[in-house]
Amino acid sequence: MSDKIDMDLLDHDCFKSWPYSQNFCITCGMCSSSCPVSGVDGFDPRKLVRMVSLGLNEEIVESKWPWICTMCAKCESVCPMEIDIASLVRNVRSLRDRDEVPGILHKGLAMALKTGNNLGLPKDDFQFILEDVGEEIAEEPGFEEFQVPVDKEGANILTTIHNKLVNTHTDDLKHWWKIFYAAKEDWTVPSDNWEGTNWGLFTGDDDAMKIMAGRIIQNMEKLKIPNLLWPE
């Protein structure tokens, strides 16, 4: 921030419509002391709330702080004035131009909107990986009959998949699947729009968030599945 803030130049009402009660802040500091990343890059939740209350709109959009927040909402649970601080942080995230969204979040989200998953993994490759892992499970004693059900209509549970599980951590798929098998659960994964992460949620992009969630619901409707297991 600049050397001196001229209060006369600020529009204190610019975030007045936000429903997070940020104006009730009594600057007690409970949020800052409960925040697990308080101090990282100087992150101070109390200061961020004050910046929103005063209308320091340029500064909060440029700041790294809203992206350091883990959205754990400990601040919300201790705030005596019931300010929805984590929700407020997410709303600040939404103020950034999309191509200014940090790291891979924007690129990953753009890819997911285009292809159905953050990696842009083609359908064939996806199915190949699933079968591969399924075969490895079937080699284990007790799991000889194991198979991965894909697009099974009328199953009981539809489950999503985090993209890293079909990228660098394929072994971690086995834990869920073995449990399903042992419990004789009637489950399935979709071959399209299987992505479990939702970076529209992370980046404060409500429209993208709705599209991603909507695709999963479409899968359930198409395959007539009543229950959703969404580990994310």
Partner: protein, 526 residues
Amino acid sequence: METSSVKKTLVIGSGSCAITAAQEINDNNCDIIMAVGQKKADTSFPLDDKKIAQEILFDARIVSCDGCFGDFDVVIDASGKRIKRNVASITIAEENRREPNYNLLDLTPSSSTISLTEVMGNKGDSIFFKGGKTVFMTSLVRESNPVILKGVMTAALLLASDYGQNVYILTGNLKVGDDHLEALYRETRKKGVIYIKLANGIPDITQDKKGKTTLLYHDDILHQQCKLTPDTTIVDETILPSDYLDDLSRVLRLHRDSEGFLQADNVHRIPVLTNRRGIFAAGPSRGVFSVADHLEDAKTVASMAVRYVKAGIPEPETWAEIERGGCVRCLTCYRVCPYRAVSLNSKPFISPQACEGCGLCMAECPNRVITMKGFDTDDMLDSVNEKPAGKGTEDFSPFIIAFCCSRSAKRAGELSKDMGLSLPDELKIIEVPCAGSISFNMIYSALKKGADGILVLTCHEGNCHSEVGNTYAHSRATIISHRLQNMGIEKERVTINTLASNMGKGFADTAEGFQAVIKELGPIGL
């Protein structure tokens, strides 16, 4: 118990506290006189309301007051006429004055820089325009209180909602400890009032020729310097005793607190007592400001006043008496008595009803002609066995006499025994009503009895029921210490300490510690 033949009660004041007290007393069928400072024409006081008082005197000032609890003879100047009345008790619930805090902030009043009271008065018209920016400055140099904050928030809310202004409140603290203040705070927040807390010091303020301010301050939350140029600056006020209260304290010889209100900063006076029995300080006159507290005080005072009229003054258990033949009218007792129990007739006379039996007068009387029923120094010390002669130094167990104030050290001593704590073998406790009654003579007599060490144990500073008893005790003990030193006796042999009644361990530590010191010094060898 003698029922007092005096049936009237006097209430001084005209605010809500005084009126409520009067009404309550009246409701209990007790006669009441009200002495109101304002002239009849100047007050919105309900003039003929017999529900408040049988007699209301306007433009009234207390000129003199003789007598004591249950029987005060008061002379009141009412619009130039001198009126005498006889009352059982006096309640003071006089309203306060407010002083704008311009000086505290180095501000000059102007059309742009005004005080809180002026906002709602005539000058307020100048800031009642749409839009613009107003800053309130409160609780910055000196702590404020909920009553002032209520005024600030009410005014801020008005300006923010009805006049669409940008309102800022610069404050050191938010004292919302009174009815509905937190709700009012939320109201102001909803209307966009911005609060800026300045924990350390005041902003940098410059005023232009028209009196408009430019403020530079450090925002403690943003950790940044900020600049603000309001159209109007409003300073808060300090609530202080009125000039009349100053007069009353002089006429009635009442102790005051550090700000001048008619109740010393002494826990024994809470809630509505003063240093004089039968004279009560309520609400604004004792330095409490919120309406809820005023009503509470009014009820307390009323119940006490009614009780004293209906059930009479409690029979005194003990009191000091001046032996008339020996008295030389030096007036030392008159000046010393914290309870103002000495009245000056042909010779000084101590009223049993006003006397609290502290014994300060006894200790100070230069002719030693004051006695008190139940408190005889010679008797007390006679009961102390003299130290058996020939106690050698190898097995030296110091003979310690401890003079203990009845309200603190005596009780702490008992507690220490109940707690089974270790105390010196040869410790003799002598109880005195107040440490202020411990005279030079008593300490010398204790030395004559062979004490190797003498402890004088008093209440903590500020906690003495007699207000100054412990102070007297401390100065006497210090003087004797020095005299002993001049005589070649170690000054530590007379030591003074403070205790509270709940300090059982403290008593034991003090006594054992003192014993260790005296053991080191050896027998006094007088």
